[in-house]
Symmetry: C2
Subunit: 460 residues, 2 copies
C-alpha cells in the first residue's frame, strides 16, 4: 500500500486541530443545553425522493448502492433508494413527522452531525462537513418570539467562543414577508425567482443581478432598480423599517404582507437591541436560496472575515414538515462548523495547548517495575487526572522527550526503594521549567490550567 | 407527504433514549481521555479499493455515486470510487500512513463515529451504528504490554457504566499464535480457514464445525477433534496454559509459535488478574473472523446477556498499516455502542431522568412581560443552570403541564410588581412535591441531582 493522499473536499484534522474542533462542539453543545435544547441525532440517509423535494439541491446528493446489490435481479427490490443527507433540516422535519405522537411540542432540539454534498470542492466548500443546528418546531402553530430567540441563542453560542479567539459575529436578518410583499406590490409575481437572483448580489454585483432580474424574472428596468434599492437597505435599528416604508411609498407599493413583515422585522430588531446590543443588523439583501423559508431569515458573518460568507444561517419555515393533516412550523439556524474551524486554523487564530489529553507521563524505571508505574497512573486517574505510562523503560531523557513531543507538561518518577528496602519518595518534574519535587500520587494535582488541554487564542 | 416510517437497520432514538446514548459516549470518552488517548475523527468515506482489501467484508460496503455524475461521460473521471467505511480500524490505519510524519508514536487514539454496513438487517444487526474504538499504533514495533493495557482500559470504560445499570463485563482473550502454532503442529496449514470455522462454534455447535473442518480445511477426524478440544479450554488463571500444553503434548504438538503464544497469553492473564481481578478470562475458542490479527484477540460479553454476542472486540495486528517501507503494528478494541444501547433500552436496564436538559421553566405572566421572564432565564444560565422560558403566556396550570410533560422539575414564577410599583418576590415551585418558595435568580440553585439530566438504573 503506497502512502495514501487526502481526498479533496473531505477534511480531516491532526490531533491538535481536532482538539480545537472538539472544544468548539463541546462549547456549542453547552450553550444549546443551557437554553433547553434537546440533543438528537438522525440517521445519515434519507429516501432519495425525500431529499429531492427541494429541486435546487438535487445535484449535490450522494446516492448509496450496496456493492453486492444487483438491481437487475431486484435483490434490493424491497429497499427504497437512499442518499446521504445534505443538511440537518430535512431529516429533522422527517423525524418530527415520524415521531410526532411521541414528542412534546413546541420541540426544541439541537443536532450536531456530518452532512455530505457531492459538489465540486473549492475554497471553503467541503463534500463532508459538520453542521450544528438548533430548531424549534410547533404543532400547528409556533409563536413569533422564537424567531427572536433562536438567532440570539446562536449569537450567544458563537459569542462564547470569543474567549478562545473567535472573532465577534454579526447576525444579519431579513424577513421573507417584506421581500415578497414588496415584490408583489411592484407587480413581480415570480417571488422565488427574484429572491434567487438577489441572493447572488454579493457574488456578481448589482448590474449583473439587474440584468438577470430582467432576463429571468420578467422585471422592467424600473422594477429591477426597486429590488436593488430594497436590497441596499441595512442598519441596526428601527430606522431601517422607516426607510423600507419610504422606499415602498415612493414606488406606490403598500401590501398587507409587507406591513406584516415590517412589523415582525421591527420586533426582532428591537428585541435584539435590548437583549444583545450591537449583534443583530437588519439587512434587506439577505434572501437565502432555499424556498421553504416564510418569515425571518438569518445569516451570520465573522467581523473582519466577511468574505468567508455566512457561517450560521437559517430562518422560519411554515410548511416544511406536514403530513397532510397536521403542519409543524419551525424556525432554526445551522452553523457550518467545518468551515468555521477551517478558517480559525488557517488564519492562525486559535490553538490547543496540547493535542493529547494526558497531563502526566509516568516514567518506567524497568519493565520489571512497570506495575509500580501503572499503580501511580491508576491513583492519579482515580482523582480525575489524565495520565499515561511511558511506552518503554528507556533512559529518562528519552521518556521526558516522549512527554515533550506531545506537549505533556509533567513527568512522574516512581521512587522505588533503596537496596535495604526503604521506600524512596516519588518525584514529579515540570518539564517546561525543569522544577522537580517530591510528590504523592494520593494527593498531588496539576495546576488547573494544565489539567486538561485547553483551546486558547493563538497568541497566548 | 405521508407520515414517514422507520428504515430497517438505521436506528434513531427518541430524546430520552438519545440521552442514554449520549451519556454512554461521554462516559467512554472520559475514560479514554483519562488514559491519554487522543480523540480523532476520520472522513466517512474511503476509496473502494482500500475498503475491499479485506475480502470477507466486501459484500457489506455501501458505494457512493453523485446523483448528477455521468459515468459514461467520465465526469467523475478524476475521482476514485468511494465507499462508506464499515469499521474504524481500516480508516485509522490509512490515517496513520497518511500522517505518519506528523504523529508521535506510539500513537494512542480513540475514535467514536458511525459506520455503515449494507447487510440485511436482523435482530441486533444494524446498517448504521456507532463504534467507539481505542487503538495504539507503533512505528516499526509496539511493546507487548499494550496488549495487556488496552483490554483493561476497555474493561474500565465499560465498568464505569455499571453505576447506571450496565451489567458487568467479561473480557474473553486468546492469542492467534497459540491457535496457529497448535494447528500447524497438528499438520493443518489452512490456519485462516480453520479459524473461520472455529469462529462459528457458538452458532452451529461442535459437530457441524467438525464436519466443516473436514470438508473445507482438509482436516482428518482426529485433527478436527484436537481443534475442538483446544477450543473447549477456558479459565481465569494460568492453569489454562498448562492445560493447553498438556493437550498439545497429547497430540505430539510442540511448536515455537505455540510456546510464544502461550507465554504472551499467560502474561496477559497474569497481569489482568493483578490489575482487574475477575474480569479477564482466557477462552481458546475466541477466533475473530478478521485475518489481520496476529497476536492477542479479544471479545467482551455482558454477564447475563451472553447471547447478545460480543459488544467489544479487537486484537493485535502487525501488518494492517504498511506503506512498503515502514510498518505500523497496533492493538485495539472496538465497542459496538448502538448494539449496547439498543440492548440496555430494550431490556429496560437504564433510563434518563429526563429527555430535555432544562432544570427550570420560567413562566410567562403575559406576552408584554416576556422580557422579565427572559431576564430570569439569563440570570440562571449565567450560573450554569439549564433553563427555558414558557412558550406562551397561558394559564399557569398549562405552563406547569409544559414542564411536567418534559420531566422538568422546577417552574419559576416572576413576581412582577404590585399596582403601586412595589416589586414582589419571584417564586420557584418543585412540581413533583408542590413545594413553592420565594427565590432570587441571582442565587437560587437546583439540587445537584436535578441540575442536569442523569442516566440511572431503570429501577431508581
Amino acid at each position: 500500500m503506497a502512502r495514501p493522499t487526502p481526498l479533496s473536499g473531505f477534511p480531516e484534522w491532526l490531533p491538535d486541530d481536532r482538539a480545537v474542533e472538539q472544544h468548539l462542539l463541546d462549547s456549542l453543545r453547552r450553550t444549546f443545553e443551557l437554553h433547553g435544547f434537546t440533543g438528537i441525532e438522525t440517521r445519515a440517509v434519507e429516501p432519495l425522493d425525500q431529499l429531492l423535494r427541494k429541486g435546487e439541491t438535487s445535484k449535490e446528493v450522494y446516492v448509496l448502492r450496496r456493492l453486492q446489490a444487483d438491481p437487475e435481479s431486484g435483490e434490493d427490490g424491497g429497499d427504497k433508494q437512499l442518499g446521504l443527507h445534505f443538511d440537518l433540516t430535512v431529516p429533522f422535519a422527517r423525524y418530527v413527522l415520524e415521531n410526532a405522537g411521541r414528542l412534546a411540542f413546541p420541540f426544541k432540539r439541537y443536532q450536531i452531525q456530518k452532512v455530505w454534498r457531492g459538489e465540486r470542492p473549492q475554497e471553503g466548500r467541503f463534500r463532508e462537513f459538520v453542521q450544528a443546528d438548533i430548531d424549534v418546531v410547533g404543532a400547528g402553530d409556533l409563536p413569533y418570539h422564537y424567531e427572536v430567540e433562536l438567532p440570539l441563542v446562536m449569537a450567544e453560542a458563537l459569542g462564547a467562543l470569543r474567549e478562545i479567539g473567535v472573532p465577534q459575529v454579526r447576525v444579519l436578518v431579513n424577513n421573507r414577508k417584506v421581500a415578497e410583499g414588496f415584490y408583489r406590490g411592484l407587480g413581480l409575481e415570480d417571488v422565488e425567482g427574484v429572491l434567487r437572483q438577489v441572493d447572488k448580489l454579493d457574488k456578481i454585483g448589482p448590474d449583473a443581478v439587474s440584468g438577470l432580474l430582467q432576463a429571468e424574472c420578467g422585471a422592467t428596468p424600473e422594477q429591477a432598480k426597486a429590488c436593488l434599492e430594497l436590497a441596499g437597505i441595512s442598519g441596526p435599528d428601527a430606522s431601517v423599517i422607516d426607510r423600507v416604508r419610504a422606499l415602498a411609498a415612493s414606488y406606490g407599493v403598500g401590501t398587507e404582507l409587507l406591513e406584516t413583515g415590517l412589523a415582525e422585522l421591527g420586533a426582532l430588531i428591537g428585541a435584539a437591541a435590548r437583549r444583545a446590543p450591537g449583534i443583530v443588523v437588519a439587512d434587506l439583501k439577505i434572501a437565502r436560496g432555499l424556498d421553504y423559508y416564510t418569515g425571518s431569515v438569518y445569516e451570520t458573518v465573522l467581523v473582519g472575515h466577511e468574505e468567508l460568507g455566512s457561517i450560521c444561517s437559517g430562518g422560519r419555515y411554515d410548511t416544511l414538515a406536514t403530513d397532510g393533516k397536521n403542519t409543524y412550523p419551525g424556525v432554526g439556524l445551522s452553523i457550518g462548523v467545518s468551515r468555521l474551524v477551517s478558517r480559525l486554523l488557517a488564519a492562525g487564530l486559535v490553538r490547543a495547548t496540547r493535542g493529547t489529553p494526558s497531563a502526566v507521563v509516568v516514567a518506567v524505571t524497568s519493565e520489571e517495575t512497570r506495575d509500580a508505574s501503572d499503580a501511580v497512573a491508576t491513583a492519579l486517574r482515580a482523582r480525575g487526572i489524565p495520565v499515561e505510562v511511558a511506552p518503554t523503560a528507556a533512559k529518562f531523557g528519552k521518556q521526558i522527550k516522549y512527554a515533550d513531543r506531545r506537549g505533556i507538561p509533567f513527568v512522574w518518577f516512581p521512587g522505588g526503594a533503596d537496596d535495604d528496602g526503604t521506600p524512596r519518595a516519588d518525584q514529579v518534574k515540570d518539564i517546561r521549567s525543569g522544577d522537580q519535587a517530591d510528590a504523592d500520587a494520593a494527593s498531588w494535582e496539576p495546576p488547573a490550567q494544565d489539567w486538561w488541554p485547553r483551546v486558547v487564542p493563538a497568541g497566548e
